[in-house]
């Protein structure tokens, strides 16, 4: 189970785990988008605590969700990223699209 989704009134929390690459991103995307479509949340929290690896496919995943939330001004909070993942996110300038904690 690579993602567990929790929802609270205006927030979708996606707890990701395992390795995020091109192979796994598709499934993650489907699960997260289902919750976003249903709730149109003001905030999407992506919790990377259980993520052990991420490449640029993970960047595409975050950017894609950013675009999805944009029509209603929703925002993204990224939590619990390790060193490696933070480095890839900075390289991509994700700190301009989301709050990285």
């Amino acid at each position: 189970m690579p993602v567990i989704i929790d929802t609270e009134e205006n927030t979708v929390i996606a707890r990701l785990s395992g390795e995020i690459d091109h192979h796994t991103a598709k499934e993650l995307r489907t699960d997260i988008d289902l919750a976003i479509d249903r709730l149109k949340p003001a905030t999407l929290i992506l919790d990377f605590d259980g993520v052990t690896f991420m490449d640029s496919s993970g960047i595409g995943l975050v950017m894609g969700r950013y675009k999805m939330l944009k029509p209603w001004g929703g925002s993204i909070i990224i939590e619990n990223t390790g060193n490696q993942i933070k480095k890839v996110m900075r390289l991509a300038g994700l700190d301009r699209l989301a709050v990285i904690k």
């Binding site: 390795e19 091109h22 192979h23 995307r29 690896f53 595409g60 950017m63 390289l91 991509a92």
Partner: protein
């Protein structure tokens, strides 16, 4: 440059093999005793190169990806990822950060930027219609203090 050790692998362009390539390079580079940081960066670079073969070079067609891993003098890890797919018409443009030919698939256009920032040297050779090879080297310093 002396080749002190070499392993060659070939596998079909299936996306589950992205993880396999990362595992292989982790196992192979262990003999250079890299730090957690170093191995994380090398794995990411390899993942980018292999993913590009699957996503771009073969585009849903079948074909093989060749992965060559070498240990060179002075603790240098050498990696070559090669496909016989569509090739890259303009390498300079392809390597520009944020350039992607597949934005509709949520590609960020950052694969080459990741490879260049995580490896010491990245060389791309490509010919339209016959394929692409990406060669990368990284000197392993095993600076355990930076993990």
């Amino acid at each position: 440059m002396n080749i002190l050790n070499e392993v060659k692998m070939s596998f079909p362009c299936k996306s589950r093999n992205e993880a396999l390539a990362r595992t292989a390079v982790t196992a192979f580079s262990a003999q250079l005793d890299p730090s957690v940081n170093e191995i994380g960066e090398i794995k990411t670079a390899v993942s980018e190169a292999v993913t590009n073969c699957i996503v771009h070079a073969y585009r849903g067609r079948t074909g093989n990806i060749e992965l060559v891993m070498r240990i060179l003098d002075n603790n240098v890890l050498y990696i070559k990822v090669r496909d016989r797919g569509c090739g890259i018409p303009d390498i300079k443009q392809a390597m520009e950060p944020l350039y992607t030919s597949a934005p509709e698939e949520e590609r960020a256009g950052l694969g080459f930027a990741v490879m260049e920032s995580f490896m010491d040297k990245v060389t791309v050779r490509s010919k339209e219609g016959s394929g692409t090879s990406v060669t990368m080297t990284r000197k392993i310093l095993s600076d355990k203090a930076d993990t």
